[in-house]
Symmetry: C2
Subunit: 367 residues, 2 copies
Amino acid sequence: MTLEYFPLPGTPVEQLDTPALIIDLDVAEGNISKLQTWANRHKVAVRPHAKTHKSPYWARKQLAAGAIGICCAKVSEAEVLANAGVPEIMITNQIIGERKITRLMSLARSARMIVAVDSPENVRDLSEAAQACGAEIGVIIEVDTGMHRCGTAPGAPSVKLAKAIAKAPGLRFDGVMGYEGHLVANRDYEVRKTETLKAVEKLVETADAMRKAGLDVKIVSAAGTGTYNITGTVKGVTELQPGSYIFMDGDYLQVLKDFKPALHVLAQVTSRPAPDRAITDAGLKSISTDRGFPAAAGITGATVKSLSEEHGNITVEGEAAKLRPGDKIRFLPMHGDTTINLHTHYFGIRNGKLEAVIPIEGRGKIR
Amino acid sequence: MTLEYFPLPGTPVEQLDTPALIIDLDVAEGNISKLQTWANRHKVAVRPHAKTHKSPYWARKQLAAGAIGICCAKVSEAEVLANAGVPEIMITNQIIGERKITRLMSLARSARMIVAVDSPENVRDLSEAAQACGAEIGVIIEVDTGMHRCGTAPGAPSVKLAKAIAKAPGLRFDGVMGYEGHLVANRDYEVRKTETLKAVEKLVETADAMRKAGLDVKIVSAAGTGTYNITGTVKGVTELQPGSYIFMDGDYLQVLKDFKPALHVLAQVTSRPAPDRAITDAGLKSISTDRGFPAAAGITGATVKSLSEEHGNITVEGEAAKLRPGDKIRFLPMHGDTTINLHTHYFGIRNGKLEAVIPIEGRGKIR
């Protein structure tokens, strides 16, 4: 329907049509390796979150590096991953409603499925569906360790729910998860460390209380990119579930420097209507702004003044003032996950040339 | 690949799987009719902007109501529209680079194409491509009427560029456009009116100066949803190019009440972890927040506290405090265009039931 076509491998990055979501493959692979190496050394497993990359290509890279499985947020994301052969998938959210629960049971025929719960009603619905479908799925309890989004309270309420799961036909009680999402982006390492240790302690204590009640708790899963090296040192945490570390983004780079930025949006200048103003072709439909405006990269003197739907309004001086229509400019998004979700493909770059066009098959998989 | 399926017509809206982008068809059709009726009475043409709906279905409805053509922002959007049979398409932006310009020339074989320019270099490139392809395209000059994004300065610089277009082989000089984007969302009608009249006067004066220079100016195009009834009364303006009026959004409803909200995101409650907190399954990947958090609709006592990628964190009291997991809740996005761009389909509702599943074929068409 469209005359767009994919450039061939070997195409220099500056010849890619714009806007294009470009990935520095060396950097992304380096990030995957660095996290896995750290986790191996600290004897904690990695189950990376695919909500960031939404792509079987990257899930396979993470598994090949040593990840024990993949996390995702939605049943439809899990369907994409299962169909691509990912053997074990953890949905880190509550799956509600007959249609989605039935799809989850169907998935259990192609992958080992684990799902998070936080209410006895959901446990009942999952168990009934598992029995009706003759499926077995793993269940973990999402414990609210302080983020105050979803999750049961730590301690007794979680233990009670764990007992209900353990008794529910068709369900396999696997353990607990807790996401310290209120701390992962805290800019102050000392505060982040102190508060994360307190939050994760609640999760570990809850797991211990479950074990005292006679339950087998195999999984104690937590952490985001900003807390991997804090949560990952806590005794009793069995696995980490970060997502953004693979590509990083402008927001997380203000939190930690352990991983390098691999993801940019390549744009071109479309208009130079004034000496201090350049207009580009990448706006709100190519770069998300929920964590702020993107930063121009690889050039000095360019600052994003505003984004409209299909325009970047860039204030230019010095080197950037020389930009002409047709010139390319890279932008570092502040939030990778929501930026990636706008695009259909990654353009994977190595040594300045296109190596692979990588489909984002999980894009838009919101159900 | 996914087990998602489309519900059949007749399905009650509350049985749709979530998150779902739902359109009240009566309201959307009413908005189309209201704008066209107003324009007919004021003897100004309508060329609606498809960047809002990104959908041939809605373009056809607008044309059937009397629109003279359709605007869009990108070559790839134009390809979607042309392939769906839209006979005349105006790209309201500068098209830069050999690849996109060549695609534009190819499009001129299936639709009458008009494109905006603001530089002599772009005119030269378009003319060379038109000659090489044996195509003819219409060209309008984008005049900066005060938004200070793209565009040539009003008056003499625009007249000079118009002369260059008129002389350029393969190009047909059609006229001018100016988008008073800095005024369309001004909440104060009197300010909006006064400032818009000043801005549009620059465009009309520029068109008159072109005519004095012997040029034929057929098109004088301007206006957004917030200024349609101001710009549309200015003598010399030949057509209006609003987009958002078709569905409206929470932001524009604070500007004018002429059109009614037709678009919502249907979500379901997935967790009730605290008496004052409900969590829904629609987050940043289902509802854009570049103009603010969405508003809960059709229920009292529900306020969006925050959105994360796949969660809405809703503060509830009164009626909303009765919400249980599985209950549905509608949200009015503050920015329709960027919300629509997250979804693959509209679910068109009439009298509470699904009438049509409408593909958003222009979604993600950023190049």
